[in-house]
């Protein structure tokens, strides 16, 4: 197996406030890594450094062999290979659903408009929203929006997908559809890094669960190891609270 993502001693500070205090992580091809932890623990910030939406203060990040900390690295090239799904969807409201999906591949000259449309329809079918191709994002429910956002990220044919709390802004009955799409992706062998509070998803789908607290990775292992037998006291406390409600 090859490492798709390698992070070494990553620090990130906003002024005096250090939110990442030395993170080390490797993610292998086809691996699904789920990151859990209390709010403010740095897991979302960490995820955003992986496609340089946040600039690290120090440390090393290699994505598909590209060094993100090196200023000479063409970040747009790296991002083409790293799909990102946001908590608040961030669909483009002035474009139709299909136009949202095909914008990047067409604008970046990856394929002709016709080919992009065919791919877009295929992806919308995959997330169960082919009939909404011509709708505007405002006409969709939250769950539908998030599934379109996933299709949009997949249109660039990325080899890594990042999910930043993809179900946190959804009504409970919408969560299942989005998680199902993610589960299918994992089964197809996509390399995924997911920040979530959905412990059920973590248990079922994750190859590895990573527990963040106070800007550190406190614990990591298979779902069984982390959920059934956590070693770190912060992890024990957190899991006790979220699993035994």
């Amino acid at each position: 197996m090859t490492a798709k993502v390698t992070v070494k001693d990553l620090h990130k500070a906003y002024g005096d406030n250090e939110v990442l205090k030395g993170i080390n992580l490797e993610v292998q091809e086809n691996e699904v890594v789920v990151m859990i932890g209390p709010s403010g623990s740095g897991k979302s910030t960490f995820l955003r450094t992986l496609n340089k939406l946040e600039d690290p203060t120090s440390g090393e990040i290699l994505i598909n062999g590209y060094n993100l900390v090196d200023k000479k690295t063409d970040i747009n090239k790296v991002r083409e290979n790293v799909g990102m799904v946001f908590q608040h969807f961030n669909l483009f409201p002035h474009l139709s659903v299909l136009e949202n999906v095909i914008l990047a591949p067409v604008e970046l000259g990856k394929m002709s408009k016709e080919d992009a449309k065919a791919l877009g329809m295929q992806l919308l079918t995959q997330v169960g929203l082919a009939e909404k191709a011509d709708a505007k994002p405002t006409q969709l429910s939250g769950g539908q929006k998030q599934r379109v956002a996933i299709a949009r990220a997949l249109a660039m044919k990325p080899s890594i997908m990042l999910f930043d709390e993809p179900t946190s802004a959804l009504d409970p009955e919408m969560v299942g559809d989005v998680l199902q799409v993610m589960r299918d992706l994992a089964e197809d062998g996509m390399t995924m890094i997911v920040v979530t509070h959905e412990m059920g998803f973590a248990k079922q789908v994750a190859d590895r669960v990573v527990f963040f607290a106070d800007g550190y990775i406190r614990e990591q292992g298979t779902p069984e190891e982390v959920f059934n037998n956590p070693q770190d006291p912060r992890a024990q406390d957190f899991l006790n609270k979220v699993l035994n409600v």
Partner: protein, 484 residues
């Protein structure tokens, strides 16, 4: 699809700009005869006035025409307010001025004059029903003067002695009306001009005997255009000798205004005024619309560019854009227009046409306002949109163009409509640099027929109609491009 239409508009604008610049500079001329650009006043009857077809006539105009014919030179006549014209000759915008300009020692310092061509004196005039008996009665009262004239200089020279206050006007007719209405108690004016005005219905009477007698002269910037002065002098000697000069003067001095302006009956009905001045009004409206539309296009291009520079995350570009917005939003439009039209040619030695200067003025001033709300509108678009677009691999520029701008522009549509209406109104300020747009058209028509109220009423109505049409157009555009 969208980018193609944008491209079309852009190319069209460039083509228009090139057209304006090349027609505006007016230096090259096809014929072998020397060609000059000569300025005159917009309103100074009987020396210069427009006839009912909108053509300039008058003593100055006819003398110039005759001399040019005899001395074999061609010229382009540019009527512009006297004070601006006089300055523009010194800045090199014009080769000469023929505008009833009195030869004074101060002016001789900076101008070279041809043979004095008309003897004149300054008189004081008061309202017909005024009870002022002599200059002594002016003490403590306010007197109306026309900016930059010899008569004004004379008035100032006796101001201490008689103890009056002064206020200034740029155009004779407005000044006469001010005195006739009693806002100011008196005015000082060159005798022939005042006599002509009174003869043609201005409700003033002459208070004093001509004083400070002097001559009018044809002026060029000191040390420049000496060949033109020579031609003028030779031509003037020739028309003086064969009696042509006397015929020209006789034609205008003592002439009834109706010879030039049409009958009083026509002037007294609004419909008659409209019909009689149709071609002039249409030309004025055309010029105003042209300035507005081209001004808006240029200001939008400039404003959007500066607005984007203001928000891209780069300290230098942000500072640059903020400075541009600060300067051009801070300068009054009139000051900016004079600075570009008169100031820049003094610095560079290159003439700029009034139209070109006016368009640049609109571009910078209105563009600065547009830049401010473009930056605001783009900032108002949720940052998540930029992040999502960048995450897909789009460059900053593409993300801005395809994702952020289309959303920001929708937020800006109401501000754009507002700015378009302001631009239309602001074009009237450009009359000051001699562009004969609608406001200036009104001024010159009134200078001929003295129908201030009726003409301004018509002009106001025309502006309202244009603004209404523009608002409808903007609402249509809002529906088409702004709605969802």
């Amino acid at each position: 699809m969208h980018s193609k239409t944008w491209m079309k508009y852009f190319m069209l604008t460039i083509a228009l700009m090139v057209g304006i610049i090349t027609t505006g500079t007016d230096i090259a001329h096809a014929s072998k005869e020397p060609h000059y650009v000569i300025t005159t006043d917009t309103t100074y009857p009987p020396f210069e006035l427009q006839d009912k077809n909108g053509k300039y006539v008058g003593i100055d105009i006819d003398i110039l025409k005759e001399i040019a014919k005899r001395e074999h030179f061609t010229y382009k006549l540019v009527p512009i307010s006297f004070n601006s014209g006089a300055q523009a000759v010194l800045s090199g915008q014009f080769d000469a001025i023929m505008a009833g300009m009195a030869i004074t020692p101060a002016r001789k310092e900076v101008y070279d004059f041809g043979t004095p061509y008309y003897k004149t004196g300054v008189i004081a005039a008061i309202s017909k029903n005024s009870n002022i008996k002599s200059l002594d009665d002016l003490r403590g009262k306010t007197v109306a003067l026309k900016t930059g004239t010899g008569a004004a200089a004379y008035a100032l020279s006796i101001q201490k002695q008689y103890g009056f206050k002064v206020t200034y006007f740029n155009d004779s007719n407005t000044m006469y009306n001010d005195v006739a209405l009693g806002n100011t108690v008196a005015t000082f004016e060159d005798e022939p001009v005042m006599k002509y005005a009174i003869q043609n219905g201005v409700k003033l009477k002459i208070l004093t005997k001509p004083a400070n007698s002097g001559y009018y002269g044809f002026g060029v910037k000191k040390g420049h255009n000496q060949a033109l002065i020579k031609k003028f002098n030779a031509g003037f000697a020739s028309i003086k000798e064969d009696g042509t000069y006397d015929k020209i003067v006789a034609k205008y001095i003592g002439a009834k205004e109706s010879n030039f302006a049409g009958s009083a009956k026509v002037n007294n009905s609004i419909w008659g005024l409209l019909k009689q001045n149709k071609s002039q009004f249409l030309a004025g409206i055309g010029q105003t619309l042209m300035l507005t539309i081209l001004g808006i296009i240029l200001a939008t291009i400039f404003g959007v560019a500066i607005g984007i520079l203001a928000i891209i995350p780069n300290k230098f570009s942000h500072g640059f854009a903020s400075t541009i917005i600060y300067i051009f939003r801070g300068l009054p439009l009139l000051v900016l227009a004079f600075f570009i039209y008169i100031g820049i040619p003094s610095l560079t030695g290159h003439k700029l046409s009034a139209l070109f200067s006016g368009l640049i003025t609109l571009m910078l001033n209105e563009g600065a306002y547009i830049a401010a709300f473009v930056a605001g509108g783009l900032k108002a678009v949720d940052n998540g949109q930029m992040e999502a677009a960048r995450s897909l691999g789009l460059s900053y520029g593409k993300a801005m163009l395809k994702v952020v701008m289309p959303q920001g522009i929708k937020l800006m549509v109401p501000s754009f409509v507002n700015q378009f209406i302001i631009t239309l109104k602001d074009t009237s300020i450009l009359s000051a640099i001699g562009i004969i747009e609608l406001t200036q058209t009104g001024t010159v028509i009134i200078s001929r027929n003295s129908q201030g109220f009726r003409v301004w009423f018509l002009v106001a109505l025309m502006y309202l109609i244009m603004i209404t049409l523009l608002t409808f157009l903007a609402k249509w555009a809002d529906k088409k491009f702004g709605g969802n």
